[in-house]
Symmetry: C2
Subunit: 325 residues, 2 copies
């Protein structure tokens, strides 16, 4: 069995032996650029760990790991165009560096290459099942992105709608990465069902933790400016819960602040954070996360492989939930 | 065996029973809009005819036919964004009607749905082979689009580069549609090879005829304004061949006209067309088309099925070459 760090090395070696360096270079250079930016490779690691649950031959699942990473990067490139984001992982986004058209077309090609990697899985008998799972996840990610954009224009988003949105946009791919790795290793259907519950709920915790850290995290550790979601008027769980709990003038003020775009962003972030603290929103979010995490771990417990096999995956889940991976 | 018109009805019934009407409607409405614009359904017809060569059960290949049509429409949506085209088939393009972001995201979802239809083929054993072919074609279409955009900025495009570009951007999908239909019907590999040669060369003729009609066609029959390629300074086969044949002042004038954007477009179109006529470029193009068509039909002749089975496909090929389908 491999540790998380060993799996990461195995995956990096695979990406290096599969560079995007074909012609025309105007198409492939943006793909190489975003893939070379690094990132934590969480999804391919989950794919390899899903495979490792059911055997030691993780190398056969490397094409699946690559498929989910290439898909993830495709979605970043197109999302960044839609969001007009100038920076990604501290560097210029693809459309910023190469233009919007290059971002669109290279993104399309990455989506296609994701399917091409998937097809190269060692266990060819798994292809129909892998394709079904991949398509389901990919459609959900698009639907999630659409809901996310819709919610920017709505003032009446409900907490359950928000949770459904992050389930689609973020958790589905985390779930799918794990499940597809297990499919590649020949896992039986009942185990796949449990793994799906585990993965989806870990994915929800992962996003909730992102929401928490965006407001309450140490900017130096987290690598982002604190309060970015508040500045952008994002209706995350924190804000939606606060709007649910707040009464009277506080509620009016919070609603007003979260639809404003003031010159003094720091003052807005400070005041919204104060209100969230008064309402103990962080505690609410932590409690919610713990419940979801409990559901996740219970499902992992029901996967019919020896507990020792699950250790690295449980470790990885904890890192994801704390966003320390 | 079904006629072309019967196959078109069978395909239309299938598309009507698979509407894009899920939630969120902001994602699905643009997909339904472009799919509902109609068009000639050439690629799905070719898929069904590829299947019909090898048996009468064409219904099993309907998901493949749908996959190539959805893919084709995805490529139109994204190409129209990149080209900033306001109109498609006489109606507002998707990005014009719904915005660029909706065009990007709905296009992405259509690309994914193309794979999802492919997966639903009756002959599940064919999925790995279908996926390989689909990925190859899809990558080639992206590469072709990139070359097409590159050529807009280049003044030294060679005829063989142009032919390679249209082979990727247009002919690959015509070839692939036919081949994937045949794969769905369980065709043997040697026949697939001949069909690929047939399809690719018919696809080249199809694009060359488009180039010819754009300059020399009857605008009423063709449905486009005559000389559109000339106005846009597109280096089609006609122009590249003319630049090769022209000498002295004529060559200089043609090169100058084809990099100009004058107020009086009609005068430019008239003068360029005159030069093409002097150089007998239409005859050159027709001769080239005939040679390619000959190669295509010879390959179809070598497909090991009774000649009577090939009749509708030969008929269809003639329609494509004349763009009368």
């Amino acid at each position: 069995m491999h540790t998380i760090e060993e799996l990461r090395d195995i995956f990096e070696a695979y990406t290096e032996s599969h560079p995007f360096n074909r012609e025309p270079q105007e198409l492939y250079a943006p793909m190489a650029y975003i893939m070379g930016m690094g990132g934590k490779r969480l999804r391919p690691l989950l794919a390899l760990m899903g495979a490792q649950l059911f055997g030691d031959a993780v190398h056969g699942a490397l094409p699946v790991a690559m498929a989910v990473e290439v898909f993830h990067n495709f979605s970043l490139v197109h999302d960044d165009i839609m969001d007009e984001a100038p920076l990604r992982r501290g560097q210029a986004t693809v459309h910023q560096k190469y233009g919007a058209n290059a971002g669109i077309l290279s993104g399309d090609a990455m989506l296609i290459y994701a399917y091409e990697f998937l097809r190269q899985v060692d266990n060819q008998a798994a292809i129909p099942r892998l394709l079904r799972e991949f398509n389901r996840v990919a459609v959900e990610v698009c639907e999630g992105q659409q809901y996310d954009m819709n919610f920017e224009r709505r003032q009446d988003v409900k907490i359950e709608e928000y949770l459904r949105m992050i389930e689609l946009k973020t958790a589905a791919l985390i779930e799918g990465s794990l499940v597809m790795g297990a499919v590649a290793a020949g896992a039986p259907e009942p185990d796949l069902k449990e793994l799906a519950v585990f993965g989806r709920n870990i994915g929800l915790c992962f996003q909730l933790q992102d929401d928490i850290l965006d407001t309450f995290g140490d900017p130096e550790k987290f690598g982002k400016k604190a309060g970015g979601d508040i500045v952008q008027n994002k209706k995350t769980f924190l804000i939606l819960k606060a709007l649910e709990l707040a009464r009277g003038e506080t509620r009016t003020e919070l609603a007003r602040l979260m639809s404003s775009n003031p010159e003094d962003e720091r003052q807005k972030v400070r005041r919204v954070t104060e209100i969230l603290q008064q309402l103990k929103i962080r505690e609410w979010a932590e409690q919610m996360k713990e419940e979801i995490q409990h559901t996740a771990l219970a499902a992992l417990g029901r996967v019919a492989v020896p507990d020792s096999r699950k250790a690295p995956l449980r470790d990885m889940a904890m890192r994801l939930i704390r966003r320390e991976a």
